[in-house]
Amino acid sequence: MPDTIRARFHIAFPSERGQSFCLDVDAMLPGSGIIAIFGHSGSGKTTLLRCIAGLQKIDRGRLIVNGETWQDEKNFLPTHKRQLGYVFQEASLFPHLCGRDNLEYALKRSGGHCQPKMVQRVIALMGIEPVLDRYPDQMSGGERQRVAIARALLIRPRLLLMDEPLASLDMARKQEILPYLERLRAEFAIPILYVSHSMYEVARLADYLLVLDKGRVAAQGAVSDVLSQLNLPLGFGEEAGVVLTGKVLERDSRWHLVRIGFSGGELWLPDNSDLGKEALRVRILARDVSLALEARDDTSVLNRLPVEVCEIGAGSNEATALVRLKCGDSYIIASLTRKSLARLRIEPGMKVWAQIKSAAIVQ
C-alpha cells in the first residue's frame, strides 16, 4: 500500500548492567498526519525512531515508507539517502553556521526541489526571520528548535521524524512552539512521527497513537480510540483522559461560553476568543469526570451527559478505578474511587449520568 509506513524491527540490546533491552515492533502506520509514539523513558520510542531514520542499524528489520523500501533483509538505505527530516530532542543546529546558513545547508542538499517561495513560507511559518543572522549560541532554546524544524522541512522530507522536540524546553517555550507544530500539520501534507512522553502534547497534536511499553507495541490506533482504552499497561495515571473532536455550534456572549458538538453529545466550555469554526479538540481528563445515577439539576456541574458503562479497569492506585463510558459514538473515561463504585453498584451495561467538571480545548 502506498500511503502507509510499515515498520518491523527486532533487536535485543545486551546491556552492561545485566538487564537487556529488547525492541520488538511490527507496526503499520498511516502515511499522513501526526503519528505520536508514546511511552515512558526506556520504552524504546527513541530507538524506534532512530531505526526508522537509519541512525541505528538493526540487522533484522524491515521498513517500507509510502511504497519505498528503506530496509529489508538485503538492503539498508543509509540515512543520507532516505528522504526524511529529523528534529532532535535538543537543538542540533550547527554551531559554526548562522541560522540562515543552517537552512542553506539543508537547501543545498534538498535536490533543488525547494523553490524560494517555499523557503519564505517555511521561514514565515516558523517565525524565524528575525533570528536568521544569529548564531545558535545567540538564540533562545525555542528559537533554536524552530530553526531546526525549519531546516528539517527545507530538506523536503517525505517523512518527518521528531524526537521529543519540546522535551528540553520549559513550559513557556513549549507553549511557544506548539502552535507552530499545529500549523505545520495543517500546511504540509507529510506524515510526522512524533516521539513524546507528554500526554498533553499527544492529546493536542496526534491523529494516530502508537504506545510502546518495554520495547513492544502496547496499543495503536486513532488517538481517540487508544486514549479511551482502560487496559493500557502504562496506566496513564493522573493523565488518563480522552480526546474528542468537535465543532463550535454556538457562542454565548453573556456567560462567555461556547457550545461544542461532538458525535455523541454537546459540551459547554469557556470561550477562548480565538476559536475557529473548524474542527477542534477537547480533552477530558478521567479525574474530572464523576458519575451520578440520575440526572440532577442541583449541581454546579454544567456538563452532564447520559452514558452507558462499558468497562471497569484498574486505576492509578489501589483506591481508584477507571470506568469506560459510551456516549453516543464516543467514549470517555472516569476515574472513581472503588468505594463509590461499590456504593453506587456501578456495573457494565448500566445507564448513568457523567458529570464533566472541566474539559480543555487543546486546539
Binding site: 542540533s92 550547527f94 554551531p95 545547508y105 539543508a106 542538499r109 548564531y135 545558535p136 549560541d137
Partner: protein
Amino acid sequence: MGFSQADWSAIWLTLRLAGTVTLLLLFIGTPIAWWLAKTHSRWKGPVGAIVALPLVLPPTVLGFYLLLAMGPNGPVGQLTLALGLGTLPFTFWGLVLASLFYSLPFVVQPIQNAVEALGDRPLEVAATLRAGPWDRFFTVVLPLARPGFVTATILGFAHTVGEFGMILMIGGNIPEETRVVSVQIYDYVEMLDYAKAHRLAGAMLVFSFIVLLGLYLFQHRAHRPGLRYWV
C-alpha cells in the same frame, strides 16, 4: 643574522623535512585518529599504545630499530632494494620515514581528541540532511574540529624540527641530505664554536617559543563559546 651557507642549508633542509612529514602525517594520521576515536574494537588499546610509543621511548631506541628495518637485511630495506630504490638510511627519505613514526602521536592525538569531543550527534544531524560521508567530513568535522587539526599540524611540524637523536641514528650527518639544524648545532658545540652554536640555538629557541605562543593564542580564541557544539 650571520648564518653561514651551511647554516642556511641546514635550516632549509629542516623546514623541508618538517613540511613533508607534517603534510604526510595529516593524511596518514587523520584516518588513524578517526578510527581510534570511533572504534569499539578490542584493537583500540594496542593500536593506541603503538601510536603513543614515541612519546615515551628514547629516540635512539626508535632510531635503532628503524635503522635495522631499513638496512639491507631489514624488511623495509629488502622492499626498497627490490623496488630499485636502494636503502633508505642516510638519505632524506629515510629521515622522512623515520620522522613519520616519531611525530605520529603529536598529529594523531589532537585530532583524535577533537573528533571524540565532537561526538556522533553533529554527524547524525548532517546525515539526516542528506550529507554523505565525505560531505559530512568536509562540512561538519573539519570546521568543528579545526582547533584539533591546527594543533596537530603545528605540533607535528615543531616536533619534527626538534628531532635529534633519531636523526643521528638514521641519517648520520651528511650536508644537504641529512644535516638538519639540531645536528648542525651539535657539530658546532663539538668544535667548541660556541658563537655559531649560539646563533642557531637562539634561532631555534625563538622559533619554538613563537610557535607555542601562536598555538596558545589560537586555542584560546578557538575556545570562545561560539564554537561550542550545542547540546
